[in-house]
């Protein structure tokens, strides 16, 4: 964040358009470069969460899997807050169980 963005935020103004342009570009390019459509990405996200939740209890509401790009390298970034580890990993079959504490 630049000083201008900070002042704009303080005054409740929109950020300078170049900042918005850069953020929008980075997001759209991450998807362009990976060549994954949103549907596939969503499916992948679900499956990743499913696998991880076999081993640890994760907060599915907070869980986030997204694509990020830096220096022409696109990375899959998963941010999965762990509630607690499971003593015994569940077998492959069970479906993700959301919202159980």
């Amino acid at each position: 964040m630049t000083l201008r963005d900070f002042i704009n935020k303080l005054l409740g103004r929109q950020p300078a358009s170049a900042t918005t342009a850069k953020q929008r570009l980075q997001l759209v390019l991450a998807h362009d470069r990976s060549d994954l459509n949103p549907e596939l990405l969503e499916q992948m996200r679900r499956e990743i969460l499913e696998v991880v939740s076999r081993y640890v209890e994760i907060d599915l509401e907070e869980g986030d899997v997204s694509l990020e790009t830096e220096d022409r390298v696109t990375a899959l970034v998963a941010n999965l807050p762990i509630r607690r580890t499971k003593a015994v990993p569940e077998e492959a079959d069970p479906v993700v169980t959301a919202g159980q504490a």
Partner: protein, 237 residues
């Protein structure tokens, strides 16, 4: 340096018009490929710069049969008598691009600091990368220093960061470009010293291996307003 420019935009050819050579075309790349004339007959030498020659694009109907191998043939002929062969690639990523890229060893990607142009450039760079074309350099065109200073245009660093390419040159938005193309006199040859002319000359010198420093126009502006503008661009977190 003997330089040839090859207009690879067969569909919408314009390089002849921009260089002011449209009245002197007799043969084109089409006749050269068909063997109907020698390369020297098709080449149009520039009246102001004897080391510069244009090989005009042929008929748009050539697109029906033209292959990357044909472009390689033409470029192969050109490189025998020229030090530098510039291929003017058509816009887009379809056949015209594939033909032009098929004959290129390295690439210069020209884009403007606008979202759609940067996105398209990224696509092109990706395709050039998969073809193993190296090095790829970037020219940022139609830069408006004032807008950059007030952060209403993507900064030079933003574009080079996003595209991850080394910068070969920066060309400022310049009315003289339109004036010179109206007349068909290249800006670098008609004695003009406008900002774009300087930028073109610097780019040419860098291509020839000279070390010409790049100056970010948004950072080079003087005066109190420019200073405040720079202060406002300070990254705070």
């Amino acid at each position: 340096m003997r330089t040839a420019v090859l207009d690879a935009d067969f569909g919408l050819r314009n390089l002849d018009l921009l260089l002011g050579l449209e009245n002197r075309i007799v043969y084109t790349a089409q006749e050269v490929l068909a063997g109907n004339c020698r390369l020297e007959q098709a080449l149009v030498k520039h009246k102001l710069e004897p080391n510069l020659a244009l090989l005009p694009a042929g008929n748009p109907r050539m697109l029906e049969w033209l292959k990357p191998e044909d472009m390689q043939t033409i470029v192969g002929m050109l490189r025998e008598s020229f030090d530098i062969v510039l291929i003017d690639c058509p816009a887009g990523i379809e056949d015209g691009f594939k033909n032009a890229a098929g004959a290129a060893e390295e690439a210069i990607v020209i884009t403007t600091p606008e979202v759609s142009a940067v996105r398209d450039a990224d696509r092109v760079i990706g395709l050039l990368n998969t073809r193993g074309i190296q090095p790829i350099q970037l020219v940022l065109n139609r830069v408006r220093p004032k807008m950059m200073a007030s952060q209403e245009m993507l900064a030079v660093d933003d574009v080079t960061d996003i595209l991850a390419l080394p910068l070969l040159g920066l060309v400022l938005e310049d009315e003289q470009v339109i004036v010179s193309t109206n007349r068909g006199e290249p800006l670098t040859l008609n004695g003009s010293n406008s900002p774009a002319a300087q930028a073109y000359t610097n780019i040419a010198r860098r291509i020839c291996g000279e070390d010409v420093p790049l100056i970010d126009p948004a950072k080079a502006r003087r005066g109190l307003r420019a200073k405040i503008g720079r202060l406002m661009q300070t990254k705070i977190f």
